[in-house]
């Protein structure tokens, strides 16, 4: 079962990630209180994506998983982007 | 699909013929090849396969690229002709079409309302579609045009009748019970007839039907309510006057004498009291003016004269 299980991740890695997430959360809240117009939403999304990639790669051990896992994740995200993006070809130009 | 001379139909038919033509050729090619191989290489004459080839890069690239080109031309031809269907000539006659379960109403710039779409021959007509309840679709096969009527949104289409005559209009978006009955016609009149029709009749003809009845027909009430007692979606208007209707007030049945304000209520808040055994689908007729409603009430209440 060598390839089946990966090495346990040391506690501090997780704790540091957690701190990073907390900091990012405060950043979103602060940024959202500044009036940036449409930028607000993009900033929020950018930070959220950053946070989620932290969760995915560290907490969910994607770092240790084989390439297959990352490729599949990519496929899913591409499809997701297509679903949302192409819908907007209608909504934006209606 | 008889050849038609009007512009929209021609635009669409070009594409149809182009694509069907290609498709026919391709289909024939494939079928003939298949049948030929099946006969030529049948087990009885060809007991052992005479080739074990796994593939052929050139052939495969060929029949990847060829279809690509073919479909791209199809796409382009389809698109350019579609653009033509969306660009309305600016001298177009504007008509507002209201779709409701299950009837059409056409309103002209001069405020006149009709259930059939009367248009002059030779002049482009722009139909602005709206719906008051669910999705409907204005489909005129003779002009190859089709567009949904969407509640809360205005859509449009245009056409030009090149020959006088009467052309079918269907509702081509499923809208429930009366979907297949939601049919009307485009009446294309040549100049003289159209002029005659277009000028307002100042003196109402002696044989004019009661005003209320006209409204009922205009408003598409008759789409759901028959005048001859035959049951449609809604109860028939025949003998409505003084009829005691059994109402279903959420669960408990009540008997009501159909009098003036009952009818007003039925018109303005149909959901308030539902006639027993009927679905609660009657649209509120609050878009009617007060006198229109009175006219309807009067008409419905006058005793049925035998």
């Amino acid at each position: 079962m060598s390839e089946q299980q990966h090495e346990p991740v040391p506690y501090r890695t997780f704790i540091l990630t957690w701190l990073a997430l907390l900091i990012l959360t405060t950043i979103t809240v602060v940024v959202s209180r500044i009036e940036l117009g449409a930028l607000n939403i993009w900033a929020a999304l950018a930070i959220a994506s950053l946070k989620s990639s932290l969760v995915i790669f560290v907490f969910m051990h994607l770092k240790q998983e084989s390439k297959l896992f990352r490729v599949c994740l990519l496929v899913m995200l591409v499809i997701l982007a297509i679903f949302i993006g192409l819908t907007f070809f209608d909504v934006l130009y209606r | 699909m008889n050849p038609l001379s009007n512009p929209t139909a021609q635009a669409v038919d070009n594409v149809l013929i182009y694509i069907f033509g290609f498709s026919l050729i391709l289909l024939l090619g494939i079928t003939v090849a298949t049948i030929y191989f099946v006969i030529r290489y049948r087990r009885s004459t060809n007991p052992q396969p005479t080739s074990q080839v796994h593939g052929n890069l050139w052939l495969e690239t060929l029949w990847t690229l060829l279809p690509t080109l073919i479909v791209l031309t199809m796409f382009w031809y389809g698109w350019v002709n579609y653009v033509g269907l969306r660009e309305v000539p600016d001298n177009a006659l504007q008509v507002k079409a209201t779709a409701r379960m299950w009837s059409w109403q056409f309103e002209y710039p001069d405020g006149r309302r009709e259930n059939k779409l009367y248009v002059p021959v030779g002049r482009p007509v722009k139909v602005n579609l709206i719906s008051v309840d669910v999705l409907h679709n204005f489909f005129a096969p003779a002009f190859r045009i089709k567009r949904d009527a969407v509640p809360g949104m205005e859509t449009y289409l245009w056409f030009t009748a090149t020959e006088a005559g009467s052309y079918d209009v269907f509702c081509a978006e499923y809208c429930g019970l009366g979907h297949s009955a939601m049919i009307t016609t485009i009446e294309a009149l040549d100049q003289a007839d159209y002029a005659a029709w277009a000028q307002p009749a100042e003196t109402p003809q002696p044989t004019a039907e009661p005003h209320g009845l006209t409204i009922l027909k205009e408003q598409g009430c008759t789409g759901c309510h028959s005048l001859d007692g035959s049951p449609l979606v809604g109860p028939s208007f025949k003998g409505l006057a003084g009829r005691t209707t059994r109402l279903d007030r959420d669960g408990k049945i009540e008997e009501v004498e159909a009098d003036a304000d009952y009818i007003r209520r039925s018109l303005l808040q149909p959901k308030a009291d539902i006639v027993e055994g009927y679905p609660p689908i009657m649209p509120a007729a609050d878009y009617l003016s007060a006198e229109e409603i009175e006219a309807i009430v009067d008409y419905l209440l006058q005793p049925a004269d035998e």
Partner: protein, 199 residues
């Protein structure tokens, strides 16, 4: 019956696939959100001000922490510290409950103001705002449901750990429940700014 045959990587892979389906499920609601935001920008801003940002922020912290604890629980079991792992699992469940309790108070407050799907008051606020709150309730509700499921999964894991059925060699179940729990966290990471923070 198929013979006892074990493939942890396969199990994890299957779990990831399942998580993808969850993401797509929520994405449907996010498409609706995006389109409505595009149609009613200022109504959305106004509506989101009606949401209590403190509840939102606290819940974010709670979920992030719970993600940490469950991740730690996995490391712990891998290092053979089953007791610790059990404690961490229970903490995670505790945090999940805390999250739900928060939600309960938040929602009852809003419902107290007569703001809930189909309420007359909401309808009175006009199109954009109604859309916002309906979407908010459905998305948050669906997410809450996932919190519930995830918590009970981890509950099962905890019991099995206590019984010694989950251990350094056989921690697949804990691994997958943890994955699921992280997804719950991920959804909230997007849900939070979109509903509580847009101006």
């Amino acid at each position: 019956m198929s013979i006892e045959h074990r493939d942890d990587t396969g199990d994890r892979f299957g779990m990831w696939l399942f998580l993808y389906t969850e993401v797509i499920l929520f994405s449907g609601l996010f498409i609706l959100y995006a389109v409505s935001l595009y149609k009613f920008p200022e109504q959305f801003g106004e509506a989101s001000h009606k949401l209590n940002i403190y509840f939102g922020t606290i819940n974010t912290l709670v979920l992030l922490t719970s993600s940490l604890t469950i991740a730690l629980a996995l490391s712990a079991i891998r290092m053979g510290r089953n007791k610790q792992s059990l404690v961490l699992c229970l903490t995670t469940i505790g945090l999940a409950l805390l999250f739900l309790i928060n939600k309960y108070f938040e929602w009852s407050a809003e419902i107290g103001h007569g703001i809930y799907p189909g309420s007359a008051q909401l309808a009175a606020m006009g199109p954009g705002i109604t859309t916002f709150f309906n979407l908010y309730y459905f998305t948050a509700g669906l997410h809450g449901l996932h919190v519930l499921i995830g918590a009970s999964l981890i509950g099962v894991v905890a019991v099995l750990t206590a019984r010694g059925r989950v251990s350094a060699e056989r921690c697949g179940l804990l691994e997958n429940s943890a994955l699921y729990w992280h997804l719950v966290d991920l959804v909230w990471i997007f849900l939070f700014p979109l509903y509580y923070l847009i101006l």
